[in-house]
Symmetry: C2
Subunit: 339 residues, 2 copies
């Protein structure tokens, strides 16, 4: 009987971990309306002297709580830049400059120094100039360290939008792990059910897994756009594979066969008894970026990904009319559909 | 004897309220070194196609905790834009676009809507296009709502830096109240010594006083720069009058006679038994902006300020060599000096 199931068997969702994705989605829809529909793409732009300038902001969020516990906040600095440059590069925009915003409950120089080193390292890797930032000491408001970056980027010339076409091939690039999403749920599972971050589960070092930096797809994406090898790109972040809706043409479906996810995702799913449909909308499950490519460009695209040190997988196709579902995933745990 | 003084007489400082300005300053100095000295001005820039682009970030901070209690978070949205546009306009940069970052412990649509309305209103007032933003739901990290904006601005042509000269006249423009700084200390005084925000002290409505929006100096500053009426401008924010160091030439001192501050500052100083030197480095004390003007432009500058709806005061002069003190304030509470 359901009432007798032990806690350890209860299925955990993102909502249980305090994050209600539907409520978050409602906020985004509201923002869209208030912004007159400008939230369709990842990024919006303003024109100045014939240039299309993009301003994009994102923060590392709950992952910093874990990184702080593990003494690896340098990764928060890195992530904060790269999650943003990956986003803008999905829309064919080249990172130009950035500012950081760090909120802390008290002024801690060691933590600040560590984060800033990560930011500088990522700025150098992605070609963005660090122009400055703000460090806010907020006792009573911040319980942990919040690390946020805003990127200024300039659109590559000739871009015609981030929208796939029926028939395009979907290629996924491997992630390094969780990247910076789904940590509220991961944290709850690890702290409540796996004995904390120092635990080693079947040879898997949880601290190591949870502090892997976000993979930098920026250079690959900019080169792929400039060579005309991609039609659309989706960065698998908050909302995971549901994020792909943004690149789908009207009435079309992304149909993908998903590879077996890395061990960390298997361990988290099992320990949290997480439903597959929840897992694939909260975590990247081993694929951090999906690009849509014309069929004739796929081989060249795969070569380019490897040249940039990435591991590409041909995952599927954009198809017309699959009963209203917009994303159909054939996973090792069964079929998962998002409408 | 000191040990017998009652709590109500103990002098409260910003440090007592959980904010250590010296520690914050140490972080800024460290950031300066790491950024190769680029923190001298309010803003740094990057050049693109002959344009000088500025990226600037700042958050409303502790004031949002008070505004949330008072149900006036729309003001947090307004402030978050205007505190940034005032900063960039001090460096003669015209606001072009902005993105917001809002962190909340849980998704709250009413709060989000209110903040976004304030942001839109301020964006319209300052001429910046709202390009988008990020709303982060961070249970476990955010205890309250954190409201942050990043502004993209473009430098007005012909600008030669934000540095006053000996002999320049210092003109202050009135603030609307505390603006968005010194709230950690104000909050502690009001909650611990004045009976909370619903209290009315000698006819002063504390809720009303604490929820006044930041004054928008953007239009005035841009017109003053373009007409050559100002040489330097200092926005009196965190660090209050110590912020003026940034606009002083080497070896010079800003000497100013300060007007009697508005009642809210008197009430806070008295209830918190706040030392004058602490008050003038934590709060704006009624003056939200100080500009340095050539002596011959002062009349025209005063007219321009009034045309923009501001109340200007001639406060003093930039002088050479006053025994090492960089800022000398003659206040109704005695002389205050900062070195």
């Amino acid at each position: 009987m359901a009432r007798n199931r032990s806690t350890a068997e209860t299925s955990l969702s993102y909502r249980d971990a305090g994050v209600d994705l539907d409520a978050s989605e409602a906020l985004h829809t509201l923002a869209s309306r208030l912004l007159a529909g400008r939230r369709e793409a990842y990024t919006s732009s303003v024109e100045l002297a014939g240039l299309e300038l993009i301003l994009h902001v994102d923060g590392v969020g709950t992952k910093t709580l874990v990184l702080e516990k593990l003494g690896r906040l340098r990764v928060a600095g890195w992530d904060c830049v790269v999650m943003n440059t990956n986003d803008v590069a999905c829309d064919a925009a080249r990172p130009l400059a950035l500012v950081d915003y760090i909120a802390m409950p008290r002024a801690d120089e060691a933590i600040f120094r560590e984060i800033l080193e990560g930011i500088r390292e990522a700025a150098a890797a992605t070609g963005a100039v660090l122009l400055g930032g703000e460090t806010a000491i907020l006792p009573g408001l911040a319980q942990g360290v919040d690390v946020v970056c805003t990127i200024l980027a300039v659109r590559e010339p000739g871009w015609r939008g981030n929208r796939a076409r029926p028939g395009d091939v979907l290629v996924g690039l491997e992630s390094s792990g969780l990247h910076a999403n789904g940590y509220s749920l991961a944290r709850r599972i690890i702290e409540e059910r796996l004995g904390g971050y120092t635990a080693e589960i079947e040879g898997l070092d949880l601290a190591e897994e949870l502090s892997k930096p976000v993979k930098d797809y920026t250079g690959f994406l900019l080169e792929a756009w400039s060579q005309g090898l991609v039609i659309a790109a989706a960065h698998i972040t908050g909302g995971a594979f549901t994020k792909m809706k943004r690149i789908l043409p009207s009435g079309a479906t992304a149909v993908m066969k998903m590879p077996k996810p890395p061990r960390i995702f298997q361990v988290l799913m099992e320990a949290g008894n997480v439903e597959p449909s929840e897992a694939y909308r909260v975590w990247n499950m081993g694929i951090g970026l999906v690009v849509a490519a014309p069929r004739e460009s796929v081989d060249e695209l795969l070569d380019l990904a490897e040249k940039h040190g990435h591991k590409p997988h041909v995952l599927g196709l954009i198809e017309q009319g699959r009963d209203g579902a917009r994303i159909l995933l054939d996973t090792p745990y069964g079929k998962v559909a998002y409408s």
